[in-house]
Chain length 253, copies 2
Amino acid sequence: MSTRTVGERGAIYDAAAYPPFAVTVDVVVLTVVDGVLQVLLVRRGEEPFAGAWAVPGGFKRPDETLDDAARRELVEETGVDIARLVQLGAYGDPGRDPRMDVVTVAFVAVLRQVGEVVAGTDAEHAALMAVTDVLGGGTELAFDHERIVGDAVERVRRDLEWSNLATAFVGPTFTLSELRAVYEAVWDVPLDGANFRRSVTAAGWVVGTGRRAAPGAGGGKPPELFEAGEAWARGAPVRRPLRARNQDGGGAR
Amino acid sequence: MSTRTVGERGAIYDAAAYPPFAVTVDVVVLTVVDGVLQVLLVRRGEEPFAGAWAVPGGFKRPDETLDDAARRELVEETGVDIARLVQLGAYGDPGRDPRMDVVTVAFVAVLRQVGEVVAGTDAEHAALMAVTDVLGGGTELAFDHERIVGDAVERVRRDLEWSNLATAFVGPTFTLSELRAVYEAVWDVPLDGANFRRSVTAAGWVVGTGRRAAPGAGGGKPPELFEAGEAWARGAPVRRPLRARNQDGGGAR
DNA sequence: GTCCGTTTTGGTCGGACAGACAAGAACTGG
DNA sequence: CCAGTTCTTGTCTGTCCGACCAAAACGGAC
């Protein structure tokens, strides 16, 4: 396969024969602070949309993958390189950038406690904002970034139900209250603590370490520390059988 | 961390300052024939990968959206423009095209009965192949198209559980056996007919028209014809409550 | 026409799970 | 020591899933 000739032929491959695009990556950084889902935004200093808030991002380089480009932008903006990073999709409507033809590939990064990191960079140019404000129209975003943020939130809400993505919002070890707060913040619903414990421990999503965390300010029984376990998959509305007919056992993923 | 000045970023907007990419769209056309999930492939006539099978696709134009580009390519290749079309994601690994820097945006199109359409075009250059053969390594695909097809199949398997995507595999009206055959083909599992009926009708996924279809070759009771209803959403493993806490009722989507 | 095989369609039943609630356990602060 | 808070376990009820059975409605063979 690697012995394909590279060189002539291909008039259609001529530089002038296909329309050139700029390719950028945008990273929607999400985190939960104080029970509120927040998104990291930066303030633009250049036209177009100078002064407007936008999702951090930048140009892809030819010698890096899309994932690497997103991770590089994430490091440049927040200084952290450990994050759950999933591709959201591509956005390429004509005119989305008034200057040139650009296709952007959006990513979602789930972080725990971006707070200090943002403070470490230029605080004037980066800020966390509640997604309800952003999506409610309270803050005008550059380009089609409001749509991108909306898609990102919807994606996270859905993935929360299917994967162990919630553990990315918290640290390597966490209490069940912390984890439950993530679900409640992202979905904006109250969950019963007792039932939550059963659901999340029975299936092996989290496993308890022996240790216990210190109680909160108001006292209370010191909670056990958990860590992430293996991911599972369940289904609806026509529920997919856990075990496939032939080989692979389908459920795992 | 290095300087993140505004001027550096502004200079990138110079026409010569950002790396130009070719942007293409590739469409993974899936259908079910005779209880087997199949993918539409075309044979390449040009280098690179001349003679190899590939997913149909082409260059995006600056004045069209990504969705429009995918639909245009679909029409050019198969002649049909009614299809469930969802974006799969972007693929931009360096070197995936040996000649130039190209980022492709992959789509999944779910069609019913591509057979005649393919025959209508150049049959020598388009063919339906079972996905098990393609993913099993039985057929070598150009570029990273095997990975793309694999991701597309995985996506369809998952979406089948969440949406009414299955109705896109069949016609506007269909029997429950036909619909059940789609699930069984995509998931490769047997499903109980009686339970399937209850699941799919109770939630309003499909609604029965009064009419009945003709029985099959081997006789049997003539089945009722159904049509697609509204989509629902259900969840696991920490099941998302059907009704959200505040306004929107959350379940629909 | 009658019997038989096939497919659809409805019924039933047991186990599993979600959700609501109660109560005990373990800690802090006064 | 007591009150307040939080974690943790226990129990119960309604609902749903999955497996199975049985009747209904057809075509074909005899």
